[in-house]
Assembly symmetry: C2
Amino acid sequence: MNQHISFIDKGTITSAKGFQAGATFAGMKTFAPEKYDLGIVCSTRPCTCAGAFTQNEVRSFSIRITEENVRKGNLRAVVANSGIANAVVGDPGRKDALEMARLAAQHLGLQPDQMGVLSTGLIGVELPMALIRSALPKIKLTETGGPQFARCIMTTDTAPKEAAVAYPSSQRTITIGGVAKGSGMIHPDMATMLSVLGTDAAVEAGFLRQALKSAVDRSFNMISVDGDTSTNDTVLLLANGAAGGPAIAAGSPEAALFQEALDQLCLHLAKAIVRDGEGASKLFEVRVEGARSQAEARMAARTISNSNLVRTAVHGNDPNWGRIVAALGRSGARVEEERLSLYVNDVCIMEGGLPIPFFKDAVIQQMRQPEVTFRVHLGLGDAVATAWGCNLSEAYVTFNSAYTT
Amino acid sequence: MNQHISFIDKGTITSAKGFQAGATFAGMKTFAPEKYDLGIVCSTRPCTCAGAFTQNEVRSFSIRITEENVRKGNLRAVVANSGIANAVVGDPGRKDALEMARLAAQHLGLQPDQMGVLSTGLIGVELPMALIRSALPKIKLTETGGPQFARCIMTTDTAPKEAAVAYPSSQRTITIGGVAKGSGMIHPDMATMLSVLGTDAAVEAGFLRQALKSAVDRSFNMISVDGDTSTNDTVLLLANGAAGGPAIAAGSPEAALFQEALDQLCLHLAKAIVRDGEGASKLFEVRVEGARSQAEARMAARTISNSNLVRTAVHGNDPNWGRIVAALGRSGARVEEERLSLYVNDVCIMEGGLPIPFFKDAVIQQMRQPEVTFRVHLGLGDAVATAWGCNLSEAYVTFNSAYTT
């Protein structure tokens, strides 16, 4: 990490200048009725925006409207609810998302097409608009409201996920803050990942889109809790220039620094989601090196991190490298067995396609750490990718099967 | 099912005329030392052959030799061991597989390149050739030895998988018999599926290959226990013509009947594997209809049947259709939400993209059956595909994580 970039103590989305947030309780989270379930985050000044959205063919209406407003370049504020995903409900879903945008815009003195709408929760249930209509005007936005907003998007997350990074740039300090939620799935169909990021840097819109895509590809797109992509996944980034200075453009030294700070923030939030994965107690990292291409390195790292057999081995602290090699082999990446090497936390357990006799208790000891790294070297090229997964536990199965019966 | 095709009582690979089999105990299955672990099945007459092999980039040496002999069209017998996969062991793996073929050929009075070699078990461990050398000559082949062979390929399977179908054809009865093993994975890296099929029909080699590919694509390739493809998956089919009559050629009425009988047998064995999946107590079927193409129907059916969230819902008898729709949406198949319909055992729970209010207890009752069918209609075309999966249980996690520690 660049020495000039640092994480801010208790950082959140409102750590960046010119952002306000707040939340309230409308009554949508029956499983946690005491908690915030409706909130807003807003830039106090015009800003540029970028977004990344689920690739699922089935998408929440909230996402479709948000994506349209991001595409127009209009986004300046986000209204979010948890408890209900506003997905697979037919045309009422579209009307409800539009009304949420209109109500929130009214409350903020903005236009509806400056709003993003985020929803997370049950699929197939309509939003209770009467509750939302009466609760929304109660949201009080403040410059310290980030933690409220971080809580209002939680479903079965056991902890809020928020952070901010800052770095000096010319006479200024640039801050990027953000919040995220992960997938708990104690309640069904909550496999939703949402993140809202805000920066007080002025950033040229084209570069902002490119920077967000790059950061998301290395962070949120490289984590997996259970391989099920939700209908609502969204990452939004607003850049309002409140820190002052000229807009950051692609190719400049400022752009490189901004990219690295954004990467660090996204990675931090993404890892927090995996660590809090449903039933999970352990984060593991899969680093694939020496692949023929970036695409193959990514496929290999993601396939290994998402293998049920690898994940149960991590759960049992079992240095079971045969499972890693089998997952690698089916990933779609080119593999030449006699060039393969494999390391557990830097202990080499296989080289040149051959197992190395290792002292098993020592490697089990390595596996017992709360974070474990598997490093696979393919020996075929220069491409590298890293993915993160969590252990698959009995608790995951119990939580996800004990719902109705 | 065609009324002329019937399953034979206690059918197995040696139900087809002109096949002999036998097995012995060499000492490779330390987790079940009292069981057969080395066996042979052999056609007593020349035959045509076809094979289907794992697509994993990392492959057992046993497979590579078998595939080569199938490609040459030479295969007439198969020697198989369980307990050790002969995978990821470097060059000794090649030498050992060749020696197994040589020893078995000698025992049978055949040439080594007429042998297939199948191995299933631990990855990364060398075959104990001293044990195999002394045990192999003890194998006694008989025309009733099929059940012995079915047992010698078992690893953590709780029951042998064997069956045979027969149908009349002109003056003759054609029989196709087969054995298979599934993936228990109590012991790690045993995720191996093997099947050997034999028929006394005379079948032209080109059509035999085509028929096996077609049958495997609809059966073994449509099941999933945990999404992890093994390094050793193999299906072999030998056709020796012992029933008499001219060779079956593509495009004939005899070919269609043979195909259907082969499909039925493969489907029966494939479903037996899923039903005996590690930790599984329940088989479920996912039938996708109305897809734009066969490829999309297959992707959709397989993605749903392999989703951890769908599998835990089945485990909990939870009619949680949101998870099915979310898995469908990420499958890669084209989906238009407003055309979707969904049925649980013929009870419609969603139509035109909208949930239908259903009496939940009645659907839970449906889900409690030992076999459950989810039928998804995409409303976009005519393509249909069916896949099979099993419930994901706490026992699966416990078995697969409780190995070394």
